[in-house]
Amino acid sequence: MSHTSRSHRFSRRQFLGGAAAAGALAAARPVLAQAPAVRGKVTIKMMQVGHAYAAGLTENLAVFEQKTGIKAEIDQMSFPILNQRSDLELSTGSGAYDVLQMIFIRSGRWIRAGWAEPLNPFLDKDDLGDFAAGALAPFRRGDTIYAIPWLADSTVVGYRVDILEKGGYPKPPETFEALQEMAAKIFTKETAAFVTQDNLHWIWPNWLMSYGGNFFANPPDDLSPRLDSPEAVKTAEMFTTLLSKYSPPGGAKLNQDIAEAMMHQGKAAYYLDGFGNVQHIIDKAKTQFADSMAFGNTPSGPKGHFPQLAVHGYLINKGSKKKEAAWEFIKWATGKEMMLQNALNKGHLACTRSSVLNHPEVKKKFTWHGSDLPALHETVMKRAGAGYMAYRTVPQFPPIGDRVIIALTAIASGQASAAEGMKAAQRDVEALLRKDGIQIKS
């Protein structure tokens, strides 16, 4: 009986508890009713390399949200981490990031794998014409566009006018042969004649292509490697001579910060690299030689002028469930207004839009002692529109590029002759390509 009574009391408590819960639920209804509006608010995620451009975007995310109602989060990271994470996120189709940076040398692989959403349904074709041909080329397959470029890094040279003039060069040398002669003439123990960064597979092609060579026979159609061709061996010899004889100590292994510091400190007279790096040599906070610096085109070779262009874009992740919102973000991030703002406020000279590069305020900001830097950059972008940068976006390029760096470093350090070093690279690259099913023609 007592048991029954306890059960009864318990039931009553249960009833009261249930009633209280129902009351609480009823009270919470207005709050729950608001939930769909909160759930309806779209949040997208984007990942890219740490860069002043991304800093500019981050500062303006509130403006983007106000305009579109879309909340965006940007994760910035270094290139080694971005490379790993992008591959992992895209290959597993996680869809965690809606927008990713289309990394130039990985674009071929990612597009081939179908990880980037074709952007044609979203595109405004009139606006597309504002992007330089060379900047769009890596992300175009036929008529399909897979990414919109926000950064185009063009190889140029920055040099010390006073040192070159003293050596008898009122203008920087126009050919690589002349550069070699000049280096021998102006090199001193205190001031190296030449400096560049250690990403040698990005710098050496300036020489290689100007002498008629290429990494492959006819990229992207014929990927038979041509690393031991007479042109490759000759230019490897020329380039590594500059690194070993006329550069600061450790010339083949200086990263861009050290190369820039060499120019800042007056330890080097001539710096060849992407504009994104070279433009910093006139930072008056870091150097007393800024007013003696000037900029110019990279030299040419017997077959012409082949400045290099590395382009990075924004893609929509195929695995994203918020593609419309992702496109709204890309449209805003690469739009004229944002790019202009980043050029003026963040020193972003490596712009991809002609309208921004020709904007009077941009011209004014980036004209240095009479040199029109935006025009210099645009010339390279137009030149690269010819399609000669195709070698860098073939899916197999990243490990091949790494192998070329090993070969050039070995040659520069005297561990191998140019012929031996490039032959060994050719052998390894052939094996690598065969493993990937590429037919190699002799």
Binding site: M47, P80, K267
Partner: protein, 277 residues
């Protein structure tokens, strides 16, 4: 002073000089790192390097404005939690394996090592995919679980050796005095294996603290740990050497502090069993 004591003093002085020189050689990279962290960038790149300079706290102040301290906190939390959990779970397991008269004991111990039989990269993608399904990506809990998986084998193998080195008769004496298995383990065995526990704890902490790979693969922005955060100071256009060196100097501090706190046990733990007698 006799010639004999003079000779002894010279020998001692020479020995100290050699030790000091060796210390300088061994610690030079650390010293250079710390010096770079209190120099301006221009000073860091000056050729030839200047021995005397005005130190600056700018790099540390800049670091405070960045997200590094969130990553540092993640490292402290995940490494400490992993160390505590590894010891809590691994030490009793090691004791059981060391004392139990089980026929498949060797086989069991071998399988405990399974997570260390392949390089981490082999487990990277499977873990990533499982973590996505379990919603553990970019969480501290996810990192702790993964660190636990490879730290447990270390704890079990290291502590089993310590327990096997302790005479079982001590526990048998405790049983006679009325203690149970757990009581004998907690009151007799554990206090005697303090050096082993300290050594194992340090190795556990270090393995988690220095992990780069799993933090790279299994985090995105919220649970990123300090080693990955440091690499993120390498921007596209420039490497932030000031922040990199300041962060690297800070990242050494907890390990140094922890090692100093338990160094007495650490040395005893490392040399335990080296001499029998």
């Amino acid at each position: 002073m006799s010639s004999r004591s003079l000779a002894r003093m010279i020998r001692r002085g020479a020995a100290l000089a050699v030790v000091a020189l060796l210390l300088l050689v061994v610690l030079f990279p650390v010293l250079w790192l710390v010096l770079m962290s209190v120099r301006t960038e221009a000073e860091s790149f000056r050729m030839p390097p200047q021995l005397f300079f005005t130190p600056t706290a700018k790099n540390y102040l800049d670091l405070m404005q960045s997200k590094f301290f969130r990553a540092f906190e993640n490292s402290v939390v995940t490494s400490t939690a992993t160390t505590v959990l590894s010891l809590l779970l691994g030490v009793p397991a090691a004791y059981a394996l060391g004392r139990a008269q089980l026929r498949p004991e060797r086989l069991l111990s071998l399988w405990v090592l399974a997570t260390r039989m392949a390089p981490p990269i082999a487990f990277g993608i499977p873990f990533f995919l499982i973590y996505i399904r379990l919603d553990l990506i970019d969480t501290r809990l996810g990192l702790v679980l993964i660190y636990l998986s490879f730290n447990l084998s270390l704890v079990i193998w290291m502590m089993r050796a310590f327990f096997e080195g302790l005479p079982a008769s001590l526990e048998e004496a405790a049983y006679i005095d009325g203690a149970g298995v757990v009581g004998a383990f907690v009151r007799v065995t554990l206090p005697l294996s303090a050096p082993g526990l300290a050594t194992t704890a340090i190795f556990c902490f270090l393995l988690s603290w220095n992990d780069f790979f799993y933090s790279l693969i299994l985090t995105r922005s919220e649970a990123v740990t300090a080693p990955v955060a440091i690499v993120n100071f390498m921007d596209y256009e420039r490497w932030e050497y000031g922040k990199i060196t300041a962060a690297a100097s800070l990242i050494m501090l907890p390990v140094v502090a922890f090692s100093l706190a338990v160094r007495k046990y650490l040395i005893r733990g490392l040399t335990a069993g080296a001499v029998k007698g």
